[in-house]
Amino acid sequence: MGFMAVIGFAVARLRNLFAVVMLTGIFSLTAAMLYVVLDAVDVAFTEAAVGAGISTVLLLSTLALTTSEEKTVNAGDSHWALALVVATGCVLVYGTLDMPPFGDPTAAIHNYVAPYYLEKSGAQTGIPNVVTSILASYRGYDTLGEVFVIFTASVGVLLIIGRPKFGRRRTHRFAAGELRDSMRQNVILRVVSKLLIPFIMVFALYVQWHGDFGPGGGFQAGVIFAAGYILYTLIFDVDTARMVVPAVATRLCLGLGVLLYAGVGVVSLLMGGDFLDYSVLADDPVKGQHLGILLIEFGVGLTVAAAMIAIFFTFARQER
């Protein structure tokens, strides 16, 4: 945690935005390691994939569109701000003093809801991974909200930046000679990426379906899938990548994932249960739970992957 403090301080002080982006990447990695030490593997998984990978790439895309030095702010009034922050910090720390010690078995959170989930989850949902069962079934409505948030964020980006001004515009086409030269370039990166990307996609699918038994699930799988595709885009052209997965497909998957999730909920309604109560989806309630969890995780994965890809593409298509 000392690392995190040092890095956080450096992030705030450095003016060169590029260095800040790099350090943010390291910060996410240290946060993820903290989660690992705390034995929270699923969270560490997501933090690694999103914080250290996708965020860095997106921040860099933003940097490519803006300047790379932070404007110096007039530091006249900063004393009051500093005092306020320190005071708030002290109050927060004082508030935590009242909390039970870390890991105390008599603490409230360990005695009411958590044991219920831990004991009942295996029997009721039939999957070993309690994190997934809580996320997808017991608190499935919250997760639906999260998916909607991702969807809305992506739609927002698409609306604000969206299509380039001149309609369907192609990025700059090289002259024939340049094209031939640039085709020969960077053989190493191209070959290695072509070897790796199928493996990455398969790994994303593995994480998606393996979420029942180990760390993983929809969010992480979506991010990994998007990362593989972003790798392809980085090595090859945006237009080439667009030909592989057209924009329509991305937008379609974006909505399809959310539709799948909410659709499962509506189907449960129609079959006589509550909204998002998976037990009624099959003859055996446990099988129903299992089926429901699989379906909504897939929906989550679809939406997350499509959202990441769409946001990256809107940034990458902009010329400065």
Partner: protein, 119 residues
């Protein structure tokens, strides 16, 4: 036999840790960017490879070993590629190789009959 495997495993782990430290010191102390890439290479291949190989031997023939093998193969593929991309970027970005810098020591061999300037 098991003892032998154990010894091999632990010595690989020790070797890997030493390599990591050497690489780390290299990153801090070497004079310029391209040299530091060598240090990173040591960390990635020798250091990480030896440590993970040691873990593999300790684990025996289980699923853990398979996953560790995947990780090692992945690192062996991607780490040199990433360093390559970085070196290209550095070269295009204007970081000059040591022998191209002004004031660098001349490295030519004396021709036949010429006096070497270094004697």
């Amino acid at each position: 036999m098991a003892l032998l495997l154990d010894i091999v495993g632990w010595s690989l782990l020790a070797l890997g840790s030493v390599m990591l430290l050497i690489g780390g010191i290299g990153i801090v102390r070497l004079p310029e960017v391209f040299s530091r890439m060598h240090a990173t290479g040591i960390i990635d291949t020798l250091g990480a490879g030896a440590i993970l190989a040691g873990l593999m031997i300790e684990a025996g023939l289980t699923l853990v070993t398979v996953k560790l093998t995947l990780i090692v193969i992945f690192i062996l593929f991607t780490s040199p590629t990433a360093t390559h991309a970085l070196a290209r970027a550095a070269l295009h970005g204007g970081v000059r190789l040591p022998q191209d810098r002004p004031g660098a020591p001349e490295d030519e061999l004396p021709g036949p009959g010429e006096q070497s300037s270094k004697t």
